[in-house]
């Protein structure tokens, strides 16, 4: 599936819920399916800055596609990174670089998250895209 299609799928899933509590509970649920980062990559370097909780992300090239693993010490944050990784993992770096992330607004995440956490969300997207840029350069 293309990034766009996965994002639409996620938006549809979140549209089933009519209040924030259910959306949060679903997000927490998604966090449990996050492909976990290998302990060896849980280093200071792999921590995303700008989040009050710790988020580690690792990226690896599998053929011409990028695979992400991650973890967080906070449950809600883990849910957020899980959603982003579901959209980006297994995609070509160039597609990740070009991807629009407006779906975050559509699932009501951005408006429902506290300002500092929203910043953390922005940092997470930025970090995933930076990985894509780095690996795209390598592919070239």
């Amino acid at each position: 599936m293309k990034i766009q299609e996965i994002q639409e799928e996620i938006v549809d899933e979140f549209a089933m819920f009519d209040d924030w509590m259910q959306r949060y509970e679903y997000m927490i649920e998604l966090g449990k399916s996050l492909p976990l980062i290998d302990e060896q990559y849980k280093t200071e370097d792999n921590i995303i800055k700008g989040c009050q909780s710790k988020v580690w992300v690792h990226a690896e090239l599998e053929g011409d596609k990028l695979g992400f693993t991650a973890d967080s010490d906070a449950i809600i944050t883990k849910g957020i990174i899980a959603i982003l990784i579901r959209a980006f993992s297994g995609q070509k770096p160039q597609d990740i670089i070009d991807a629009d992330t407006g779906f975050i607004d559509e699932i009501g995440l951005k408006e429902h998250l506290s300002p500092t956490r929203a910043n953390g969300l922005v940092s997470m997207i930025k970090q995933l895209k930076l990985y894509a840029v780095a690996y795209q350069t390598q592919l070239n």
Partner: protein
């Protein structure tokens, strides 16, 4: 049982912000240790200043300038009276406690020598650690830490052991922002003076809850911020004994702080202007005075008593939540409760509480050394003020239970 004589329902009406909703819920504001809310009397003072007599102080010949100067100096006089300060020029207006501390730290750079020692308590706010680290780097003076125990009480015997003839400065907060501990500052000051060391007490957290009699304390420096005392942000004071303030060099150069300027030499103005370079936060200073008037009209004793009742009730109710642990159980504390529930991240709980309209602080509260001491990433901090209610404590407790259920 709540025994207070205060009419909290009426008091709440003084604070327009308390009527608002957040995320569809009535606001439950429990972040008072960060910033207290502003009563209408203070808001009116600010509006009145800008509507009627906004102008620059101390130099105009015109009526507005004179009115502004009078109001600003009146505010200083109120603060002098409140803190029982001997001389009015011992009260310096600053932008807040952080500014006040930096002013003193900067001044001591020309006094301290290599090998001198500075003592800071283990429960300091970053703003009371970083300036001294910078001072220590600049002068070669050694920074030493007064340790605390698990409950958040300073180890006074260790403090005594640390004091010696090389100790030149001791810095300690009156009340810890992260733990609520009320430190035994009388004893801290007396013991420091016995070895000839000067003492700065950071009163930022204490000033809204306790009245510090600065002459009786015989403290060398004391600081307070208006925004923690129902006043506006961006204004505070530094109290300094006249002898010290005369000895310290000016912090910033600019207007107001000079007596005479030629390109060869500048002579500095007398106190307090020597430390008040540039146009100050005039409106803020005046509003600080109005905030003090407001708090005095409620009564500091009644405030302390009621907040104590709230603290006891909240402590009791919170401890009923399974797995909840309170950090900071000192013998004497203000209405601040820092806690975690099980292994849940404070940020997760804080986020859910926000969704329920409950404002708490999460994180390290600018006191990372304390979090390192307890080996935790941070805490959730609920801090209560006299306009909070028992019902709000109940809403907090229910909110935490809801968050825990969602997150577990």
């Amino acid at each position: 049982m709540i025994q207070t004589t205060l009419d909290i329902a009426t008091i709440r009406k003084d604070f327009p912000i308390l009527a608002r909703k957040v995320n569809g819920h009535p606001l439950v504001y429990l972040d008072n240790a960060a910033t207290s809310q502003t009563p209408k009397a203070v808001i009116d003072t600010i509006v009145d200043y800008y509507s009627r007599y906004n102008s620059n102080i101390h130099r105009g010949v015109h009526a507005l300038s004179q009115e502004a100067t009078d109001a600003y100096e009146q505010a200083r006089a109120k603060l002098q009276l409140h803190f029982n300060v001997a001389k009015i020029h011992e009260i310096i207006f600053t932008s807040g406690t952080t500014h006040s501390i930096n002013l003193v730290a900067n001044g001591f750079a020309s006094i301290l020598e290599e090998g001198d020692e500075i003592l800071v308590s283990a429960m300091e706010h970053h703003s009371n650690i970083v300036p001294w680290q910078m001072l220590s780097e600049k002068t070669g003076a050694v920074l030493r830490v007064i340790p605390m125990d698990e409950s958040g009480d300073l180890l006074m015997d260790k403090y005594e052991q640390l004091l010696n003839e090389r100790t030149k400065l001791v810095f300690c907060n009156h009340v810890s922002n992260a733990l609520g501990t009320i430190n035994p500052i009388e004893e801290i000051i007396a013991k420091a003076h016995a070895v000839g060391a000067a003492v700065l007490i950071d009163g930022a957290q204490a000033a809204a809850h306790l009245v510090a009699d600065l002459q009786a304390l015989d403290v060398d420096f004391y600081t307070a911020s208006a925004h923690k005392m129902c006043g506006p942000t961006g204004v505070g004071i530094l109290y300094g004994k006249e002898s010290w303030l005369k000895q310290l060099p000016p912090y910033q150069g600019g207007g107001e702080m000079i007596a005479e300027v030629t390109f060869e030499k500048t002579t500095y103005a007398d106190l307090p202007h020597k430390f008040e370079a540039g146009t100050p936060n005039i409106c803020g200073g005046i509003a600080f005075g109005a905030a003090l008037d407001y708090l005095q009209s409620i009564g500091f004793e009644a405030i302390a008593q009621y907040e104590d009742e709230l603290l006891n009730y909240a402590t009791e109710q919170l401890l009923k939540i399974e797995g909840l642990k309170i950090y900071g159980t000192a013998r004497h504390k203000t209405s601040v409760i820092s806690f975690n529930v099980g292994n849940l991240h404070p940020y997760d709980i804080g986020t859910i509480l926000d969704k329920l309209g409950i404002a708490v602080r999460t994180g390290h509260h600018c006191a990372q050394p304390i979090m390192d001491f307890y080996q935790i990433p941070g805490t959730i901090r609920a801090s209560f003020s006299f306009y909070n209610t028992r019902e709000e404590v109940d809403i907090l407790v229910e909110g935490i239970k809801k968050a825990v259920a969602m997150l577990s």
